[in-house]
Amino acid sequence: MIFSILLYASQSSAQSEQSALRFTRSALQQGHKIHRVFFYGESVNAISSFKVTPRDEVDITDQWLLLAQKADIDLVVCIAAAVRRGILDTQEAQRHEKKSANIKEGFNLSGLGQLADAIIQSDRLITFGN
């Protein structure tokens, strides 16, 4: 089965993104495909290259990148949610005249059309919210 994941909660203050990661790993282990992970709402805050995770903790964002490389998962960050929270790629930083881009490499800023596409392309969309 083809799944897509919709993330909505804060990675730093809620459990749900951790659950989403573990769900994704299990689904892949069982032979399912994960088409796309769509970062929306507070979940976009964690996609900053300025974030520093304490050494004795797991950086969930890095875990997504590892999974994405292994299993060819599209990691999309909602552009509207990201820009209003100060997560910018080079193009958006220039457009809004900010000093630098800070989105973590490996993640793409794009619109809600990518969520609609995920709905169309996947057998199931699973939301991990608050």
């Binding site: 919709l6 909505y8 709402g41 709905i119 919210g129």
Partner: protein, 121 residues
């Protein structure tokens, strides 16, 4: 691109309670552009979003009612509320911004189940 999949978006919060109201409406608009048929269910306190004259400037918030009124232009015309919620807050459906169909408690589970995709932020 056409799809057979239907989408139900559930709103549960009153106006201005959080960004999920705005984010849910954005999903509605975004998906309708891709020809996904979208329905909205205003549950519990979310019926307050459907009241006229929100006077959001008083609390320096963005008023979402223009977006709600624009849904029609995006062919999003299926809006649902619970009869129980109208009664609880003594609201009349003529007072609401959108033309809503009312559901009873006992219809709710079956109603939600008929959709392929349900998003409840």
């Amino acid at each position: 691109m056409n799809t057979q999949k239907s989408l139900l978006l559930i709103l549960r919060n009153p106006s201005f309670a959080g960004s999920n109201n705005r984010d849910t409406l954005d999903i509605a608009l975004g998906c309708s552009v891709f020809d996904i048929p979208v329905s909205l269910l205003f549950l519990n306190d979310a019926v307050f979003q459907l009241l006229n004259n929100q006077e959001s400037q008083v609390i320096e918030q963005k008023d979402l009612s223009p977006t709600l009124k624009a849904l029609d232009m995006y062919d999003i015309q299926d809006h649902y509320i619970l009869e129980k919620d109208l009664q609880r807050y003594q609201l009349e459906d003529e007072a609401l911004l959108l033309n809503c169909k009312t559901l009873t408690d006992s219809q709710l589970a079956l109603f939600i189940r008929q959709f392929d995709i349900v998003i409840n932020l």
